[in-house]
Every structure is written in structure tokens, then in C-alpha cells.
């Protein structure tokens, strides 16, 4: 089946109904493996055992940006092709992305207190991730504030694309400004600077959390399609009752 054939709510429901149990199972299995590897990984020579927080904090940070990138791609789908499934994908991703961003900030603060001596500092990386969280929450509030779903979707898509300017700022903030936050140590032009004994558990955890993100997003998309069907049918039932 061509990918374009799936871009139809009815076909998506049928396809995702078959895929979702496998995706959820894979997410749980890879997460168990990743966290098992993380707890057997050696302590860092500077951070000690506190490095264990990095095995969840770093994937949360990556997925906070991944979720917003997905929403930006969906926003293009809404504005350029006006595709209903793009609107569904956009709306479904917001609460999941917001949760991962919130967990990134909280786990980062809990790592920062013993390592930096403070839970929070207004440096460029931390502040730009806080702005990312506010963008997610603002997009959810915008959709909730506009009654017409079509207008709400288009307004949210425009705001998403404007807010996408924050993504390179989050990524390169540690290079562009002097920050307390350390620079990138995995995705670098000259390769990762982490020892393989810590890198592989980190990448496995990241894979597990990514599968979890995708499974939750698929579930939320299915729910949103059902919600829209319920709204249409309720409106039709009300119209027939008054006719």
C-alpha cells in the first residue's frame, strides 16, 4: 500500500489498529532493555552515579524537539495541502510533546542541583527549552480557545511555523552563547565524545522513548479521529431531532 493511501482517516484507523499493539510492545521491550543497560553502565568520572539521570533527560530533550519538528511538518500539511490527517497529527502531538519537554526540564533541574549547585539558571539552552514548553502550551490553549476547528487548526499551524525558529536556537544555543549547559556530546561533526559503555545504553533508551512517543502519538491520533466522528454524528443527530 502506498503511503499516500494511508493519508485517509478511515484507512489510518485500520492500519494503526494493526500496528499499535506491536509498536507499544516494542516500546516497552526496548525501554526495559535500555534502562537495564543504563543501570549497569559505569559511573561517570566527574558526575558519579548522577549520570544515570542523563539516560532519561537526554532522550526527553531530543523528543521535545522531535515532537515540535513533527508538528511543524504537520503545520505545512495543514496550510499547504489542507489535509485533515495533518491537522489530526498536529493536534495529537501537542500534549505529548509538552509532557516530554516538561520532563526534560524537571529531570535537568534534578541533575543540575547536585552537579551545578542550582536547579535553574537563565542560560540560553534552559531558557530556549522553557520557551519550547510555553509554545506547546500556547498551541494547546489556542486550539481550545477557537470554536471553529478549521480556523483553530490553521491558526495553530501558523503559530507552530513561527515558533519553529526556536528549534535551531535550542540546538545551537550552547555553541552561539556562553552557557552553563554543556555543548553537544552525541550529535557532533567529529563524532560522539561519550564512551561506548555509556553511549549504547543512552541510544537504546532514546530508541525506547522514541517508540513510546510514536505509540502514544498514534493512539492520540486515533482518538482525535474518533472525537471528530462523534462531533459530526452528534450534530447530525441534533439536526435530525429538530427537523
Amino acid at each position: 500500500m502506498a503511503l499516500i493511501d494511508l493519508a485517509n482517516p478511515t484507512r489510518f484507523l485500520a492500519w494503526s489498529g494493526r500496528v499499535l499493539p506491536w509498536l507499544s510492545g516494542a516500546a516497552v521491550a526496548v525501554l526495559i532493555l535500555g534502562l537495564g543497560l543504563a543501570f549497569r553502565a559505569p559511573a561517570d568520572y566527574q558526575q558519579g552515579e548522577t549520570v544515570k539521570i542523563m539516560y532519561i533527560h537526554v532522550p526527553f530533550a531530543w523528543l521535545a524537539m522531535f515532537g515540535y519538528s513533527m508538528m511543524a511538518a504537520s503545520a505545512l500539511g495543514i496550510l499547504v495541502w489542507r489535509h485533515p490527517l495533518a491537522d489530526v497529527a498536529h493536534k495529537a502531538a501537542a500534549p505529548i510533546g509538552a509532557t516530554f519537554t516538561f520532563l526534560c526540564l524537571v529531570t535537568g533541574a534534578l541533575w543540575g542541583r547536585p552537579m551545578w549547585g542550582t536547579y535553574w539558571v537563565w542560560d540560553a539552552r534552559l531558557t530556549s527549552v522553557l520557551i519550547l514548553l510555553l509554545l506547546y502550551l500556547g498551541l494547546m490553549a489556542l486550539r481550545a480557545a477557537v470554536d471553529d476547528p478549521g480556523r483553530a487548526g490553521r491558526a495553530a499551524a501558523v503559530l507552530t511555523l513561527v515558533g519553529a525558529i526556536n528549534l535551531p536556537i535550542v540546538k545551537f544555543s550552547v555553541d552561539w552563547w556562553n552557557t552553563l549547559h554543556q555543548p553537544a556530546s552525541v550529535f557532533r561533526m567529529d563524532g560522539p565524545t561519550i564512551d561506548p559503555a555509556m553511549l549504547w545504553p543512552l541510544l537504546t533508551c532514546a530508541a525506547g522513548f522514541t517508540l513510546l512517543f510514536l505509540a502514544l502519538h498514534m493512539l492520540a491520533m486515533r482518538t482525535e479521529i474518533l472525537r471528530r466522528r462523534v462531533e459530526v454524528l452528534e450534530a447530525r443527530a441534533a439536526a435530525e431531532a429538530t427537523a
Binding site: 544515570k52 533527560h57 524537571v106 547536585p114 493512539l219 474518533l226
Partner: protein
């Protein structure tokens, strides 16, 4: 607070946050499925389903 307490707190908050999100999404899905089933039981169906033999 010892370093272990910070590690436990971080994993605890992460587990609680993800559990709450998953629960919210699963319960929402169930509520929509139930609402759709109720409408269909009352004979309110989508046009495409009405045309089907």
C-alpha cells in the same frame, strides 16, 4: 539530599509523568469509542456506512 535521592526523584517524576500521560490518552480513547458506539446504537451512522449494504 544525597545524589541517590536526586536520581530516584528524576526517575520517579519521569515514571509518574509518562504514566499520567498514557492513562489520560487511553481513557480519552475509551470515552470516544464509547460515545461512538452509543450513537451507532441509537441508529446515528456516518453517510458512508448508511450506503453500505
Amino acid at each position: 539530599m544525597s545524589h541517590t535521592a536526586f536520581i530516584v526523584a528524576a526517575y520517579g517524576v519521569a515514571a509518574l509523568g509518562l504514566l499520567a500521560l498514557t492513562l489520560m490518552l487511553v481513557l480519552d480513547n475509551r470515552a470516544q469509542r464509547r460515545a461512538l458506539a452509543d450513537l451507532e446504537a441509537r441508529g446515528v451512522r456516518r453517510r458512508s456506512e448508511r450506503r453500505a449494504p
